[in-house]
């Protein structure tokens, strides 16, 4: 089974900041998007159990190499990194265009994507890709089970209060959730093996894409302003032992007519 995992390199959580054009500054230290590590873990477990390989696909700045190396050390087989200065400032449509072009050059039975990213609230890349590539789209997966004959995949899709069981023919695109299970730490042996794993770097030209079709110039939307969250009133911290703390919390809530 060939699983392709989409991995976005995001600023280390907690260090996010905006650049002059009000876009997320990606010149800082990057790490793998948390949700992407959960689907990577699911992909690694599946290929460990059933054989096969895991290819990582990341579109992003040079700093994406570090998270890709970590993902290779966790056990992925190889990585494809699409990096091109012309992509800077791409909107979702531009990014989806690049990912689509890369996916058309790669072989896979399943594509995995994380539920969303810590530095962008779109959540649209995965469904957009499925639509552009004509792949079945299975979202909010909490469990992923390919059929032994390799023809179909079954997932549990989370919904409020329970889950649905869905089936689709492969190849398919699965958007996974954290319920899939905690990602592993790279082992030291994994770190050493990753040294010899392939990281292919593609530019827009390699993908046959016109630089003018992506990037800030081709963006369908423009950021006008970025406002920090409104200041909230100071928090009240109760440090008593639970016996007394509970009563104090109840009093506080009651005083504000919240209970």
């Amino acid at each position: 089974m060939r699983i392709l995992v989409l991995l976005k390199a995001v600023p280390v959580v907690g260090t996010e900041r905006l650049d002059d054009a009000l876009r997320t500054d990606r010149s800082v230290a990057l790490e793998a998007n948390g949700n992407d590590e959960y689907v990577l873990e699911a992909a690694l477990k599946l290929t460990e159990a059933h054989g096969g390989e895991v290819t990582l696909l990341s579109v992003g700045p040079p700093g994406a190499m570090d998270p890709l190396r970590k993902a290779l050390a966790m056990g992925a087989t190889r990585a494809v990194h699409v990096a091109d200065e012309a992509m800077r400032g791409s909107c979702y449509v531009g990014t989806a265009r690049v990912l689509e072009a890369a996916l058309r050059r790669l072989e896979y039975d399943l594509v995995f994507a994380g539920a969303d990213t810590s530095d962008g609230q779109g959540g649209v890349i995965a469904p957009a890709l499925a639509a552009r590539l004509g792949l079945p789209y299975l979202s909010y997966a909490s469990r992923i089970e390919p059929a032994p004959d390799g023809r179909t995949v079954t997932i549990r899709r989370l919904r409020p209060g329970g889950y649905d069981v869905l089936e689709a023919p492969m190849p398919a695109l699965v958007m996974g959730t954290q319920v899939l299970g905690e990602p592993r730490y790279p082992s030291l042996r994994g770190i050493m093996q990753a040294r010899n794993k392939e990281i292919r770097t593609w530019t827009l030209a390699d993908l046959g894409l016109d630089a003018r079709s992506v990037g800030a110039g081709a963006a369908t939307t423009r950021v006008l302003r970025a406002e920090p969250p409104a200041q909230r009133a100071g928090a009240t911290i109760i440090r008593e032992a639970p016996e007394t703390a509970v009563a104090q919390v109840i009093d506080l809530l009651a005083a504000r007519r919240l209970i």
């Binding site: 970590k70 082992s187 030291l188």
Partner: protein
Amino acid sequence: MDLDLSPEHSLLRDTLRDFLANEVAPVIDEHERARRFPTEVVSKLGPMGLLGIPYPEEEGGAGLDTLAYAIAVEEISRVWGSLGIIVAAHTSLGCGPLHVAGTPEQKERYLVPMAQGKVIGAYGLTEPEAGSDSGGTRTTATHQGGPDGGVWILNGGKRFITNAGQAGTYVVTARTGTREDGSAEISAFILDADTPGFKVGRLEEKMGLHASATGELFFEDCCVPANQMLGPRGGGWRTFLQILDGGRISIGAMALGLAQAALDASTIYARERRQFGRPIGSFQGVAFMVADMATDVEAARQMVYRAAWLKDQGRDYGLAAAQAKLFASEVSKRATNDAIQVHGGYGYIEEYKVERYLRDAKLTELGEGTSQIQRLVIGRKVLDLRVV
């Protein structure tokens, strides 16, 4: 010259930081308070490859280098000194002698499971009468003929042995005879924890490193098959001293990690704590303490990493390792002590952790050769004279 870490070394460091913050930090206090060995934490280290970092894969190790190992001990000790010494004693002292002197069979049987982290190792050199004077071993081994080369009968005991009672394999020295010049002939032996006649005695109540085990070993007509002699007869002491040369890099790394922890805590505290209407870090008296800590820590790191690098290059590292251990351990004591000063009364309170750093750091001036012994080693090498 390239002073940047390689991508592998950086990834190792970042991975360890994540692992330690998520899986280890939350359980430290309970173990320290109960003086309990962290069996569960240690059992997670093996599968990650953290209990045999510098040994080749065919010996069960992770196949990384001494620098990677030093970084790992530094990062572990930065979070938890007890775990730092457990890993350092197991790796350098427990596995080390088998790596340098073991036969292929001995490596297969003992080193592979140890480097994989399935069995913990310990190293027994120190005795009540043989501390700094490690050649003063009183433990004896006498040969008894029989099939397969016969057996050695060990009698005596060891003191202050890290991982005592937790280890499955002990590597120990014993006197196997007297040389022509009257000096002791000392050989090394590999011992299974369940060997009849072998017993772990009292575990010490220590100033620090409360979650690590330090204890006595007793041998009473303890019968060891001849094929468990490690290295040639009479070569044990040399092997053990050679191991201490390398071990000093890891004690230096442990000292460095503790000093870094002290600096980290002091930096945060000096910025946040306010007195006289301003952060205490804005008073020169406090800022200078932090500045000295930061400078010392950086110098210690360069020395520890350089000693590791020399070893990895196959170059002579004895002097560099002794200097790194001496300097880093004295930096560690100073920095952890100053961290308490920066924290004021809060530094004296357990909750703020810095008092633990000082208690743990003190050991690095004692173990694997006291500071005086390091100065002897360095003095001899620099002067090319027998300094006593």
